[in-house]
């Protein structure tokens, strides 16, 4: 039997790194935490009012709808829960201090996607339905696409490079019986 040592650890109180990270809790709430290193504070003090005399602020930016707002936070805080109005959007948060009435950026977070909490606003009867053949994935991880031409173009425009544009003959049109069966795609359903 191996002799096993007893151990005891505490988590580091700080890492002395400047960091701000944004995490998503739900469609209406994000969590952000941060740390500012001694070095960063020194740098700040060179160009601004004294760091500890400045109000700490989080600047929240909705990148999808393109608006920002500030949230003042306690100078001693190192994390915060941010309630957001718009779900289904990308957000980014800057940690800053107000010096001489101006926002001074200290560090910028990662971009986080707040999920949508409702079905996609997608008009099936207008936009049609797109089907892919799973067996065509193979090692190339590519899909053979059936469906509506406009929709396919839109996917392509979104840089979904996984699609393979194969213009096959008519034989593939008959998969799953008649392609006219697809909701909303009758008439213009086609195979690429």
């Amino acid at each position: 039997m191996q002799l096993l040592k007893s151990e005891y650890y505490e988590l580091p109180a700080k890492y002395n790194q400047t960091v701000i990270r944004l995490l998503v809790q739900s469609p209406t709430r994000m969590f952000v935490y941060w740390e500012v290193s001694d070095e960063t504070i020194k740098e700040f003090n060179k160009n601004n009012q004294n760091y500890s005399d400045c109000t700490a602020v989080l600047r929240v930016t909705n990148l999808t709808k393109n608006y920002s707002y500030n949230i003042p936070v306690s100078p001693f805080a190192n994390n915060y829960y941010i309630d957001v109005e718009d779900s289904g959007c990308n957000y980014q948060v800057e940690l800053g201090r107000i010096s001489k009435k101006k926002f001074v950026n200290i560090y910028t977070s990662n971009i986080a996607t707040v999920p949508s909490d409702h079905p996609a606003s997608y008009d099936l009867s207008k936009d049609g339905v797109l089907f892919g053949n799973y067996l065509c994935i193979g090692n190339k991880k590519r899909l053979k696409i059936y469906g509506n031409k406009e929709q396919y173009s839109r996917f392509q425009n979104q840089n979904h490079t996984a699609f393979e544009n194969r213009r096959n003959g008519s034989s593939e049109n008959n998969f799953l019986g008649s392609s006219d069966n697809f909701i909303g795609s009758s008439g213009n359903s086609m195979c690429f």
Binding site: Q2, L4, K5, S6, E7, Y9, E10, L11, P12, Y15, Q17, V19, R21, L23, V24, Q25, S26, P27, F31, Y33, E35, N79, Y81, N110, T113, P115, S116, D117, H118, P119, A120, Y122, L124, D127, V129, L130, F131, G132, N133, Y134, L135, I137, K141, R142, L143, I145, Y146, G147, Q151, F155, Q158, H160, A162, F163, F175, L176, G177, N181, F182, I183
Partner: protein, 527 residues
Amino acid sequence: MAKGYLNFVLHAHLPYVRHPESELYMEERWLFEAITETYIPLIKYFQKLVDEQIPFRITMNISAPLITMLTDDILQERSLKYLVERLWLAHKEIRRTKGHNDLNNLAKFYYYRFVEQYKIFKREYNCNLITAFKKFQDMGYLEIIACPATHGFLPLINITPNVSRAQIANGIKVYEEAFGRKPNGMWLSECAYIPELEDALNEFGIKYIFLETHGITNANPTPIYGTLAPIISPKGIVAFGRDLESSEQVWSSITGYPGHPNYREFYKDIGYEADWEYIKPFVAKSGHRVDTGLKYHRITGKTDFKDYYHPDWAKEIAEEQADHFMHSRINQINNSASKMVIPPIITSQYDAELYGHWWFEGPYWIYMLFKKIHYNQDTFELITPSEYLSKYPNIQVSEPAISTWGAHGYSEVWINPGNDYMYRHLHAAAERMVYLARCITKPTEIERKALNQCARELLLAQSSDWPFIVTMNTMVEYAHKRLKDHIGRFNALADMIDKHDINEEYLEDISYKDKIFPNIDYSIYAK
């Protein structure tokens, strides 16, 4: 020909709770209880179905920590010891309850149950239940899928590059070593999906995943068949969504099957009620009263007075409920099949430990359900995801929605004021891991060992169980300690690597304690 299909999925996972340093940790009992109450009963009924030539299909995820624990020598020995102790306790109970007809019958019921379990566990599978699950997979009845390495909650740790890749890759590695094949599917921990995971899933050959209902119903474009058909993402990952109706029938704490008054009451156990001196050898080694597995009462109703348990009455209810479940699926399929150009597939996904551990009669219910599906109807068949995909490969293209199967459907369980402090340390350790892996491309032998152990500690720290336990307010101190231990070991080793001064004795000690992912390669973090 079947009009539709049932895709019955069990997710089996326990956190890595191996403590070779001491038998005082109560958490190892999670494994022992799951073995005796869920895994052995499932294996027993799978075998019974095979013997009765019933062509059932079931999909199971067995997580890497669980695979590792079920194949670990120390834990196998302790599991066997636990089982033998149950046998001994049931034997003592037969004597103690003499003269009390109801109790005596129950003591005998448990005694014979443990004798049968001993035969399955020790004699048939030599204490290694992974060989049993592998056998059923090789026979074609069971499709086993993989899971991220330590069941990490990926949306919240995906901040650092390669973290999700390492979770996915190491989960698959353990799977392949255990089952001798590549997995087709992956159970994303807590069904937590974000689109950023798809590149790693593709890279390691994962073809399908499972999602919570709104992962499908909120997908874009809206899936025309809801959860009754899989969708395929633009990057080529197939997603099956949890069916709400069949799920509620089992899961619901109010109307779910497991709450029937004739079923065994989980919360009354002789571990809490028997005389201390008598029960002491059978409860926790730390001297705490805990469950022994011998429970003599039935749910009875919403009352503190609990009547005695009658196994035969419970079996009758399980049969009735299996019938009800089957007819509900027939109705569901009859109502939807005519509106679909492909046969509907109902995906019913549950925690494996619900069956047997929480719902004592659950494994028998599964057995009866599968039997009834085979003999009593021809509307639908059981199917695995791989079989369904090969039969019906044309799938609607749609981007799944960000979702989890946790309370409220997102990440509140894993990030809230009780556990949010963890992420700061998890991200810092992950960043340091990436930095070390990128810097040290030609390690010495001892550095390589230390870096691999760092990767193990990081993965163990990332287990979703620690924030989960804190939120559930159960073994909170243990969860905090586990995070501290793994982050502490990681940082201690990383400091040694930085200083070119690795303490071999220390490395050996923690490598023995956290003995998981034997073939891990730290360089995965370097990409």
